[in-house]
């Protein structure tokens, strides 16, 4: 159940250029969050920027009530957020989203992410591995300078494959191609994906065509994050092109079964 908290910023770190990791004290949110949930942050008490910023949860320490999120400075809102200092209180609503990652039914899973979409996959990998699942992870980045969290993901997965588009680090090429190559030997029961839309489309296409279970975490421009404004629509796969019907990322998602959505 979503709550508003004014969470104290306990630690902050710029992990690579323009990308920040914040650790906040948010016991109430951590208590009920599931991997895949997100939070909405109001970066100012004023009216500009106006809306809250939806940000995925990277990591939770359930014992200490610590919630960690990572964000890239992209505009005015994230820029203001990045200037918050340790000890500041941050206005957060969460956990949000009723569609979260679920892994109970599977024993061996593949986790695939790209760029700044990899963050929610950390908590997923950690929780899945902690409950005895085999977790192989594929992370794609444009080049060496953008590779991040390699050690962190190594710690919470059984096998980590890092790919760069230009081959400047790790394997050369797209993460999805490596995953497809491994599929024959690894026989993953479910694929979990979050990242740029072209990557998600490729993952969905492969999974749907080969009848492999797949859960994708989607993004869409959001108004409220609470399920009332109906802004963040994503097309239901079952609905016809000429009279489309929609789910909403903030409510039905952000995680969907790939077969249920078209994007």
């Amino acid at each position: 159940m979503a709550e508003q908290v004014f969470a104290e910023l306990m630690d902050k770190k710029e992990i690579i250029n323009g990308i920040y990791k914040f650790s906040v004290q948010a016991d109430e949110i951590v208590k009920t969050s599931r991997p895949g949930n997100f939070i909405e942050i109001r970066v100012t008490d004023g009216i500009d920027p106006f809306l809250r910023r939806p940000i995925s949860i990277y990591n939770m320490d359930r014992e200490k009530g610590i919630l960690e999120f990572i964000f890239q400075v992209k505009g005015k809102g994230t820029e203001i957020l990045s200037r918050k200092e340790i000890g500041d209180k941050i206005d957060i609503i969460g956990p949000l989203g009723f569609g979260t990652f679920s892994f109970d039914k599977f024993n061996k899973i593949a986790v695939i992410g790209g760029g700044i979409g990899i963050f929610p996959l950390y908590e997923l990998s950690k929780e899945a591995k902690n409950s005895g699942k085999t977790v192989n992870c594929y992370l794609g980045f444009r080049n060496k300078d953008l590779v991040m969290l390699e050690k962190e993901f190594t710690d919470v997965t059984d096998k980590l494959t890092i790919c760069t588009d230009d081959g400047s680090y790790g394997e050369s090429g797209f993460a999805i191609d490596k995953l497809i190559n491994d599929m024959e030997t690894e026989k993953y029961e479910c694929i979990y994906a979050c990242g740029p839309t072209p990557m998600l489309r490729a993952v969905k296409k492969y999974a749907d065509e080969n009848n492999i279970k797949c859960q994708v975490s989607l993004e869409e421009r959001m108004g409220c994050g609470l399920g009332v404004c109906l802004g963040c629509a994503v097309k239901k796969a079952s609905s016809p092109e000429d009279s489309p019907e929609y789910f909403h990322v903030c409510k039905g998602g952000p995680v969907f079964n790939s077969k249920d959505v078209e994007f």
Partner: protein, 302 residues
């Protein structure tokens, strides 16, 4: 101290309501506070048949506000009556259904159904800028507004409020159409038609190209229009447009609004409506105002 207002025959415990399309059917906000604290809840725009809404992207942020082009997505009046109304009725507040249609016949049909439901009033939506048919098409002429209003008035046995679009040249004239059509009250403003262009793709951000602007950015326009309408009609006014707190609410009431709505503010601060109620009470205390109705229309022009 008395915050009660009788608005269009609806007895409200305070003048604070939540605007259509910013509060769903209440469920999401009941996590945060007791909905019974509100003067009234105005539901999401509801139509005779379900509507699936417009293609995404449907929303984007703008300076001190946002654009939306939801396209009146809603589950239809039957679904609402069965699944949402019973839940809303659990709270000690008034329920006003925002009704939308694409023809006079559809508005009339819908209102016949609404007559049979346990609701306190109907807000006729003649102002959505994001659907091709109906709504704003009726809302931008005196005659269009008068005709829909009087057709609905003939069948509707509940208090009738008509919500106006600000996308017109002379809002006072349009409001007269509401009064002449026999409505009990008028609400304004709906969103201002706007557009945002992504300079990298050179395309509008919204899939529908244009959308309705809401949030604090539109507040001065709304206050001005509420004032103009208050000078032109005798029926009471529900004022809205960018209200975030008690001070904003008082400004609308001084301009001539009997009650107000919190709209996009609900997205940013789920407690905005509650804080507005508290803010109004503080203002009353500070200024020794016994009845909130004493400040309605009390602006003194220069």
């Amino acid at each position: 101290m008395n915050t009660k207002v009788n608005f269009a025959g609806i007895e409200m415990k305070n003048p604070v309501t939540v605007a259509s399309g910013t509060f769903g059917y209440g469920r999401e906000f009941s996590n945060f506070f007791d909905l019974g604290k509100l003067g009234a809840i105005i539901t999401k725009g509801t139509s005779l048949k379900p509507k699936s809404g417009n293609k995404p992207p449907r929303v984007c942020e703008t300076a001190s506000g946002m654009l939306n082009s939801i396209g009146l997505q809603n589950p239809g009046v039957e679904y609402f009556a069965e699944n949402d109304l019973p839940n809303l009725r659990k709270y000690d507040t008034k329920i006003i259904v925002n009704a939308c249609g694409s023809s006079i016949d559809e508005y009339v049909e819908l209102c016949k159904i609404l007559n049979t439901l346990d609701i306190d009033g109907v807000e006729l939506n003649l102002s959505c800028p994001n659907v091709k048919e109906g709504c704003m098409a009726f809302g931008n002429t005196y005659e269009g507004v008068r005709k829909v209003t009087s057709s609905v008035r003939e069948v509707l046995q509940k208090p009738l409020i008509v919500k106006l679009t600000p996308n017109v040249t002379n809002i006072a004239e349009i409001a007269k159409g509401v009064e002449d059509g026999g409505a009990d009250a008028v609400s304004l403003i709906n969103t201002l038609l706007g557009m945002k262009i992504d300079i990298n793709t050179r395309r509008p951000v919204l899939a529908n190209n244009t959308g309705g602007l809401s949030g604090p950015a539109i507040k001065p326009v709304a206050v001005r229009m509420v004032y103009q309408v208050s000078q032109a009609v005798k029926i009471p006014i529900m004022g809205l447009g960018g209200i975030m707190n008690g001070e904003d609410a008082i400004e609308f009431m001084l301009a001539g609004a009997s009650v107000i709505s919190i709209g996009a503010g609900n997205f940013v601060d789920p407690y905005a409506s509650i804080k507005t109620i508290e803010g109004i009470e503080e203002y009353m205390k500070k200024n020794n105002i016994e009845n909130i109705t004493d400040i309605i229309g009390k602006v003194e022009m220069n």
